[in-house]
């Protein structure tokens, strides 16, 4: 059967085109940022040198900087940003609340507290800290989810968010306490786990991060329609024949894995998960799942902020300081607009 009329079709086509255009443009911006990050720094290398160094040619002075410092920093920023952006958007859509991002509901502080403990108390370092941080992030999320669904009334979005905020406050208090008790020379190393930084990303960690981010985000992307249905609320989800519990668990688990892996590499880069979804919605069109576009937005946010944090100011700051400053006004705006219309 052929569909003739175009009145409605035009609207769908226009919105799809806009989505693809915006995603394409974001891809180009990321490519531009990636090239810039590889070329620019204390020494500016020509692109030809960068390519040669990446191909494995040994160029005196340049190879170490390009392959061991700039490449992990750039790819770490790209992948962590993507993971934070996509996972944040999933949480916000799934729980239908713009506040429901993993840095607000306490998932990332689970990772932070474990990492800080490992560094300051157990004096560990390197990838063992990352792995423990990741496991702890997953464990804390499991506990938060379990608390949110236990009791006579079952799972509810607001219970999950409130439990998360509570857990977040508790874990942050633990972190502060650990910092107060710590020896001074350990503290800078631990700070990475508080606001997020790309300073210590190691090239050996990148393949693992790439593999997890790519597989999990591809897997979740195929369920974009299901996310759109779950956004309509429990009643419509059941009415439209969605297996809502299975889908919800799939999305929560997938998003948590993304967050936990990214956090284990860069620490909890503040506000990226919180900002990416809303920005992507505005740019690529509201009323879509916006999974790809929010991931790309996350990459751009982290890469651009990282460059700015390194070179735009007299001193170098960890990237999380800058993204945190970006997030604060938006959080205030959200709270104010809630005040005006009342939370529904």
């Amino acid at each position: 059967m052929k569909y003739e009329k175009t009145a409605i079709l035009d609207g769908y086509r226009k919105r799809n085109r806009r989505y693809l255009l915006v995603c394409g443009a974001m891809g180009f911006i990321i490519l531009g940022l990636a090239i810039f990050e590889m070329v620019y720094g204390n020494t500016v290398y020509p692109i030809s040198t960068v390519i040669k160094a990446l191909m494995g040619e040994n160029i005196k002075g340049a190879s170490y900087t390009i392959v061991s410092i700039r490449l992990p920093r750039m790819s770490g920023g790209l992948l962590c940003g993507f993971a934070f952006g996509m996972a944040g958007n999933i949480f916000q859509k799934l729980l239908r609340n713009p506040l429901a991002s993993p840095d607000i509901i306490g998932v990332t502080s689970g990772s932070s507290v474990a990492a800080v403990y490992c560094i300051l108390v157990l004096h560990l370092s390197g990838s063992i800290v990352s792995i423990i941080a990741m496991l702890s992030g997953l464990l804390v999320s499991a506990i938060i989810y379990w608390l949110a669904q236990s009791g006579p009334y079952g799972f509810s979005n607001s219970r999950l968010i409130l439990t998360g905020i509570g857990a977040q406050a508790f874990l942050n208090a633990l972190v502060s306490w650990l910092l107060l008790k710590a020896a001074q020379y350990d503290v800078p190393n631990a700070l990475r786990w508080l606001s997020g930084s790309l300073n210590n990303v190691n090239l050996s960690e990148i393949p693992r991060l790439l593999f997890v981010t790519a597989t999990v985000s591809l897997f979740l992307s195929v369920f974009y329609k299901h996310l759109e249905i779950i956004e309509l609320g429990e009643h419509h989800a059941i009415t439209l024949g969605l297996n809502k519990n299975a889908i919800r668990i799939t999305f929560i688990l997938g998003a948590l894995i993304l967050i936990a892996f990214a956090t284990s590499i860069s620490g909890p880069i503040a506000s990226v998960a919180f900002l990416s979804g809303p920005i992507a919605n505005k740019l690529a069109g509201e009323g879509k799942s916006n999974m790809l576009s929010s991931g790309l937005t996350g990459s751009i946010l982290v890469m651009a902020s990282d460059m700015a944090a390194q070179y735009a100011f007299p001193a170098r700051y960890p990237v999380g300081v800058l993204t945190g400053i970006l997030g604060a006004p938006y959080l205030i705006y959200l709270l104010l607009s809630y005040n005006r219309k009342g939370v529904q």
């Binding site: 609207g11 309509l232 609320g233 009643h235 439209l240 024949g241 509201e286």
Partner: protein, 269 residues
């Protein structure tokens, strides 16, 4: 076009968390008709509707769709037969009218595929039936209450179900929109033969628009039948605890309920 799906409940006890609100109700929803469940607040009418729409799992008894237990059927299969307009549906921020209605096609859509020609046809048909084709590209959150309700019904229509359940579809609307929405439902029922079952608060609108009434009290179904056959001041006293006089509605020729009220009751009796 006659529809084939049937919906009935047998010995249904249902409610929240082992606290039954609907008790031992058995009923057959009349095919191709408009039926309305009436009753006082808390009598279980909404719970009964929610149980029929499988939003609630029965404590005992069953909801049967085409003779089979609805909980045991595949959820997508049921979604093609039975639709529901919930009481307070959630509008995703900024979504456009046609995008929202397209979500009603979910049970028919193939994995990872775009909307098909069939989908477009169903979406356009339901939008034209609800008279909202010109709103296609407008954001839903900017519409008036009446327009918004038409969008939600269009979503349910795009689902192409034989049976449509509605939980208080006109409660928050102005009187003109209330009539408009009910008229659209009658039209839908006449044109496509859709079986409609809904909960309405306004007893006079219920009587006027229903082919068949279910009257509930304290979780039990106490009376059912055509409005002209079952509506009496005795029934209203029993169901709502309301003293009333019944006259003939000069426009629709159906019973019209005139509540008496405390102050006038003293002077007229």
């Amino acid at each position: 076009m006659a529809t084939i799906s049937t919906l009935e409940v047998t010995g249904l006890t249902s409610g929240y968390h082992h606290n039954p609100i609907v008790k031992e109700v058995s009923a057959v929803i009349p095919k191709n008709k408009i039926s309305v469940i009436i009753g006082a607040n808390g009598c279980g009418k909404s719970t009964l509707l929610k149980s029929m729409a499988r939003l609630l799992t029965p404590n005992s008894g069953a909801v049967l769709l085409n003779g089979k237990k609805i909980q045991e059927e595949s959820s997508k299969h049921v979604a093609k037969k039975l639709g529901l307009l919930p009481q307070t549906p959630i509008v995703p921020d900024g979504i456009k009218v046609s995008d929202l209605i397209a979500r009603g096609r979910f049970p028919y859509r193939k994995f990872m595929q775009n909307l098909s020609a069939d989908d477009y046809k169903a979406i356009e048909e339901s939008m034209s039936m609800m008279g909202i084709l010109d709103l296609a590209d407008k954001p839903v959150d900017e519409l008036s209450g009446g327009q918004r309700q038409r969008v939600w019904i269009a979503l349910a229509l795009a689902q192409e179900t034989d049976i449509l359940l509605l939980d208080e579809p006109i409660t928050y609307l102005d009187i003109s929109y209330q009539i408009e929405i009910l008229d659209l439902l009658v039209e839908l029922n006449k044109k496509k033969g859709t079986t409609i079952c809904m909960v309405l608060h306004d007893i006079n609108l219920a009587v006027r628009y229903a082919d068949y009434l279910f009257a509930m009290k304290k979780g039990k179904l106490i009376k059912e039948g055509k409005p002209s056959e079952i509506i009496s001041s005795k029934l209203l006293e029993e169901v709502f605890g309301l003293k009333s006089t019944i006259i003939n509605d000069p426009v629709s020729n159906t019973p019209l309920i005139i509540p008496i009220g405390k102050h006038l009751a003293a002077s007229s009796l």
